[in-house]
């Protein structure tokens, strides 16, 4: 900790949730991200939730143009971005309107009074000014003319009004830093770096941060605005940490996998929200031998990846629901030719275009079952940013060892949310060097490894192993085209068996929290992990006999999962769709679970799960 650590009159709190909300142009994502960084640097646990509109820049002042960033941080383990913000920062009437309903009763509202003019009130659809009627009764409201104070603070740098107003978010950030006794230096350093080439802008922004901070320090709000102190989170493991979001971590995991597997990675992709940043990240890592191919569409993207895999590299392709749908036919080709391939689906709310910037877990069916023919692939789900890294590596390992497509399911929430991550040392991770087949003796392109059932992976260019493959059914021995009925049965069975067997090469299902066996278990997968974890933790604190089972390997399912699930009297399956994992578990294990679902484009709240646990525990007992 450094010298600026708060010494004054702080209320100690375990954790706090703040929501920054403003117009798309107000820079709320930046403010939130920077606040997260400072918070992380000071050792709090944290979880973030960027929540922005589909429009690039919707018209100023409208409710659908509101962009928000929520951060939950604490000295205790946080695992979600928080159910209900304790503090709401609202830069205009629309932001207030959209966010108020979610705010904790009695919570703090900091708002820019200067933005509550007639025009903005009209745009937000307020008939009367909420600052003047009783809309805000029951909250601790701080009306500050942030607009005016910002202009004042940057006056000396001679920026135009439009540019000067760009610093409003920094003024606000300064105030919030003050509230939580956080260090300003990382922010001012960052501003200096970012605006190195336009020093006036750097200075103006720094001045705004300082002015906001100073405002807190002055008498003007003392007594009204309290300060909070959130201690360090006593993380179990010592080491070096950073914050990372899911798409970044997944990109790095894939690269780490390619390093551990000693295989070049080729990403074929086509931009789509919320998967694009995976393409962006990987396109900047050419020095790692990572090649990126922005294709003309999703089909070309996956086909390029399949071509790369045929040529001996590891093909990867990334998209979101509608784009994954387009890849369906080509995934079949990779299944039939048994080539390694990684397909990343950063899920968003559907069906069709749906809600591109909102999160959902509704592509599970598509991942496991959504193809013509009997066509199993491996499906892995990521659950949070740091898990993305591990899943990235595992996907590379499995795809190359078993010559199979692997689908990685992430979602918009994981993809965008940041969390602290203990940095691994790549030299200490287990290597799994891929060996292309070179032995010409008794070679057949479909002669399988008796253990993994994988066929040999031959790099074209290798002498003596010339062969031709394709999507037509192949003879089990020679790999030649075969229309033989018995052979088709054998190949179909073998393809399914190969995938099913991979369960033996994956860890058994563990219990995340609680006990093996008992009255009640909550089963989840993907990004609901944090919320379920917290809910189960709280329920256990209430002496409810409930455990948390988080499924990461969706297909094949863990080999002990059936036994484990049946060791509870009752199971809740919680997910952000209409009950797809529940159906999968019913189909596989005839498991009669309670299906808790939510399809609003928003993550679960802890209390939503906790309420369900209480109810079902009551029923179960």
């Amino acid at each position: 900790m450094n010298e600026q650590t708060p010494a004054g009159n702080f209320d100690e709190m375990d954790s706090v949730c703040i929501r920054f909300a403003g117009d798309s142009g107000d820079g709320m994502q930046l403010t939130g991200t920077q606040f997260s960084v400072v918070t992380a640097l000071e050792g709090s646990d944290l979880s973030t939730f960027p929540d922005f509109p589909a429009e690039i820049r919707a018209p100023v002042g409208t409710t659908f143009g509101v962009s928000a960033f929520q951060i939950n941080f604490g000295s205790v383990e946080v695992s979600t971005a928080g159910d209900e913000p304790d503090v709401l920062v609202a830069m205009n009437p629309a932001a207030l309107k959209v966010s108020l309903a979610g705010l904790k009763e009695g919570g703090i509202i900091i708002l820019d009074e200067g933005a509550f003019n007639k025009r903005n009130l009209d745009k937000a659809g307020y008939d009367s000014n909420p600052l003047e009627d009783n809309t805000l009764d029951g909250y601790q409201v701080q009306k500050l003319d942030i607009t005016k104070m910002t202009l004042e603070s940057v006056k000396e740098f001679g920026l135009g009004k439009k540019d000067a107003l760009r610093s409003k978010n920094m003024w606000t950030l300064g105030l919030v830093l003050w509230m939580f006794g956080r260090d300003r230096k990382p922010i001012t350093d960052w501003l200096e770096q970012k605006f190195k080439k336009i020093p006036d802008v750097a200075k103006a922004n720094i001045a705004a941060v300082n002015a906001g901070h100073a405002y807190g320090e002055t008498v003007e709000v003392s007594g009204e605005l309290r300060r909070y102190s959130i201690g360090k989170h006593e993380v179990e493991e010592a080491g070096e940490y950073r914050t990372v979001n899911g798409n970044q971590a997944l990109a790095w995991g894939l690269v780490a996998g390619s390093q551990l597997g000693d295989i070049s990675l080729m990403l074929g992709s086509y931009p789509i929200t919320p998967a694009s940043t995976l393409l962006h990240t990987l396109s900047g890592l050419k020095e790692f031998g990572v090649m990126t191919f922005q294709a003309e569409d999703e089909i070309a993207a996956i086909c390029g990846a399949i071509g790369a895999s045929f040529a001996g590299n590891l093909g990867v392709t990334s998209s979101s629901g509608p784009g994954i749908a387009l890849k369906t036919e080509a995934i079949g080709l990779a299944i039939s030719t048994e080539l390694p391939l990684i397909v990343v689906d950063v899920q968003r709310a559907g069906p069709s275009t749906g809600l591109p910037t909102k999160t959902e877990q509704s592509d599970l069916f598509q991942a496991v079952w959504g193809r013509n023919g009997d066509s199993s692939i491996v499906v892995l789900a990521t659950s949070n940013p740091q898990d993305c890294f591990d899943v990235g590596i595992e996907a590379v390992r499995i795809a190359t060892k078993y010559m199979t497509p692997v689908m990685v399911l992430s979602d918009g929430y994981i993809g965008n949310a940041s969390e602290p991550w203990k940095l691994p040392d790549i030299n200490k991770l287990e290597k799994f060097p891929v060996k292309h087949h070179t032995d010409t003796e008794d070679f057949h392109p479909f002669k399988r490894d008796p253990e993994t059932l994988a066929r040999p992976w031959v790099k074209p260019g290798t002498p003596g192993l010339l062969h031709r493959i394709g999507g037509i059914e192949k003879d089990y021995d020679s790999g030649h085209i075969s229309y033989d009925p018995k052979n088709h049965q054998l190949m179909t069975d073998t393809r399914a068996e190969k995938i099913a067997n991979i369960a033996n090469d994956m860890p058994e299902q563990s219990v995340s929290l609680g006990t093996e066996g008992g009255k009640l278990a909550v089963v989840g997968w993907g990004s609901t992990r944090g919320a379920i974890h917290q809910a189960v933790k709280r329920a256990r604190a209430e002496n409810i006999d409930v455990s948390h089972i988080h499924i990461g390997n969706i297909w094949p399912l863990p080999r002990n999962l059936e036994r484990l699930l049946k060791s509870y009297d009752k199971v809740i399956v919680a997910e952000m769709n209409k009950g797809q994992m529940n159906k999968l578990l019913r189909a596989e294990y005839l498991l009669d679970a309670y299906s808790l679902t939510k399809v609003t484009g928003q993550p679960f709240k802890i209390t939503e799960i906790l309420d369900c646990i209480r109810e079902q525990a009551g029923d179960a007992s």
Partner: protein, 340 residues
């Protein structure tokens, strides 16, 4: 890539596989296969460094019959797969085989973009103006009025000109050949192979079962001389049994026209000289159609630019020499903190 001691020169027979060829007897594909195998022998291709990629269709069965690496992919997607192959391993010599349905109907977009990007490969489009494998429906290149199982009253779409499309897509090499032209086609294919970048070769291919004779007007031996021009860079566009016809540009009409040397004072020197680097000339040549004009075969346009795969690898190499690939350093960039 592997060194090959050139003990014995391969012949076209060395490029035959053990698979029985499964086209209809009399199909034009047989002759093309032969031409390709001859070309491979002529250019001294190394089988293991050669890859044939195809889509789906009669023509797309091709890879099974060439003793190299091969990938029979899915309908229309061969250009995208081939792009992946070439990017992943630029040392491979990639040949793409597709049909008028595979390459211009379902696969039109990938064809467009592989040409635009200029990925180094030879693209052979077997144009038989019909969907062979699915039993004879009309294709985007079928003549208007084609009566087929899906157009019992005749097709009403305007057909696409493959070479015109390729030029519009930005192709830097456009050529034409005829299935049975066992002498001319290997020469054209060799030129295609020499061109670094995407080489587009339309091959008129007779489907004896579903569209027999559709190109007879200009492919029949007896009329060929009057109905074909074989374009050669730097040579005059002269044709005809008597070598007395030629093409000139009529500025008035702003179009090419046919003249006869010796008539109306036309001299051989007046005839247009083929400039394969001139795109406007290429545009004009590909749009000439029988019976009013001779059909232009051979290399119509060749104007190289850096290939996409070269450009991509140059960038990769630049990045590699500029930055060290240190994974631990990568993830530690930016702000980190220590917990102890």
């Amino acid at each position: 890539m592997n060194e090959q001691t050139d003990v014995k020169k391969l012949t076209f027979k060395d490029f035959e596989t053990d698979q029985e060829v499964r086209w209809c007897p009399g199909c034009g594909d047989y002759a093309i296969l032969k031409s390709v195998q001859m070309t491979l022998a002529n250019i001294g291709a190394t089988p293991e460094n050669t890859v044939f990629v195809s889509g789906i269709g009669c023509s797309s069965r091709f890879p099974y019959y060439v003793e190299t690496y091969g990938f029979h992919t899915i309908h229309g997607r061969a250009p995208a797969v081939a792009t992946g192959v070439k990017l992943a391993n630029p040392d491979l010599d990639v040949w793409l085989v597709t049909g008028d349905g595979d390459g211009l109907s379902i696969g039109g977009n990938h064809m467009l973009h592989v040409l635009r990007r200029n990925v180094d490969m030879q693209i052979m489009l077997f144009n038989n103006e019909i969907y062979g494998l699915t039993k004879g429906q009309y294709s985007p290149t079928s003549k208007p009025g084609s009566k087929t199982p899906s157009t019992p009253m005749g097709s009403v779409d305007l057909p696409l000109s493959p070479c015109s499309f390729a030029l519009g897509a930005g192709a830097r090499f456009v050529a034409r050949g005829i299935d049975t032209a066992l002498k001319a086609l290997p020469i054209t294919l060799e030129r295609a192979k020499d061109h670094k970048g995407a080489s587009f070769v339309e091959i008129f291919q007779n489907c004896i079962v579903f569209n027999d004779g559709t190109f007879d007007q200009f492919t029949q031996k007896k009329t060929a001389a009057n109905s074909q021009i074989h374009a050669v860079h730097g040579e005059r566009m002269i044709f005809g049994k008597e070598k007395d016809k030629g093409l000139v540009f009529n500025l008035e009409k702003f179009a090419l026209e046919i003249v006869t040397i010796g008539e109306n004072g036309v001299k051989e020197d007046d005839i247009l000289v083929h400039d394969e680097t001139n795109k406007m000339m290429a545009h004009m040549l590909v749009e000439l159609t029988a019976p009013d004009f001779p059909v232009v075969c051979g290399v119509i346009y060749c104007n190289p630019e850096e290939s996409y795969n070269d450009a991509v690898h140059n960038q990769m190499n630049a990045a590699k020499s500029a930055k060290k690939a240190d994974f631990n350093a990568l993830i530690r960039q930016g702000r980190t903190w220590i917990v102890d």
